[in-house]
Symmetry: C2
Subunit: 149 residues, 2 copies
Amino acid sequence: MTETYLLKPIGWVRKQDGRQGIIEVEAAYLPALLGLAQYSHVWVIFWFHENDNPRDRGILQVHPCRNPANPLTGVFATRAPVRPNLIGLSAARLLGMEGHRVILAGLDAREGTPVLDMKPYLAESDAIHEATGPSLLPHVEDGVKPRDG
Amino acid sequence: MTETYLLKPIGWVRKQDGRQGIIEVEAAYLPALLGLAQYSHVWVIFWFHENDNPRDRGILQVHPCRNPANPLTGVFATRAPVRPNLIGLSAARLLGMEGHRVILAGLDAREGTPVLDMKPYLAESDAIHEATGPSLLPHVEDGVKPRDG
C-alpha cells in the first residue's frame, strides 16, 4: 500500500514579467495572507504543472542546467523541474500586496504556474551563508529561463 | 472544476534524535540521490501528515508559535504545520550518506514524517541575509518542539 497526499492550488502566478511577478491568491484563502506584508521576503512553493505526467515524474537523473557537460546528477541534488513530486521552491522579495494579489520580485516560476503554499522567509533558519556545493556550467539554451538547478 | 495534484512519499524521517535526523529514501529513488553528497546543506520538503484532515487543512489563521500573545496571523505568514497544503520546509546540514540513508543535522521534522522532496541548498539564491520580519514571542508549551513559525 502506497500512501498518497492531495494538493490543491491556492493561487496562480500571473503577469510574470521580467523580474516582477504577481501571485493571485484564490479568494477563499485571503484570510491566510494576514500579516504577510510584515516580511521582506517569502518562499513560494509551486507545482511544475507542465511536467505532471508519468514520464517526467519518473526521471531520476538529469544533466544540471540542461547542460550535457554537467555530470549526470540525481534530481534530489538539483532544482530541476522534473522530479517524482513536482514541487518547486523559490524565494522572492515582497514588493507589496493588493487584496488577493501578492507582488514579488525575483520569483523563479512561470506565468500560469499553480501555487501550493507561501511561507515567510525566516533569516535565522533559512539564510545559511556558509552553504557550499559544486560549480556547475551554465544553461546551454538561449532565450529560455533556466529552471534546472 | 478544481485541479488537484497527487504526492507520494519518497522517503521517511527516521531516528530523529536531538539535532541529528536520518531520512530513509525508498529504494526506488536511490538514483535520485546521486551527487547530493557534494552539497553542505539540503532542503527537505515534507508532509505534516499528522494534520492531514479537513479540519486542520481548513485553518487559515493561527497565533504564531502557538502563543496567544502573538497576534492572529494568516498561515501563509507563518511556518505553522496547519495550512491548506500541508507542506513543510526545513534546511538541514548534510552530515553524510549511507546508501539510501541521508544523515542530517538541524532537520525540523518529526520521526515518521513522510518526505516529499529534497533539493540542494543554493546559497546564491537561497541565503538572503537582509530578510526581515516581525519579532514574535516564543513558544508557550514546554517540552514540545516548536513547529509554528
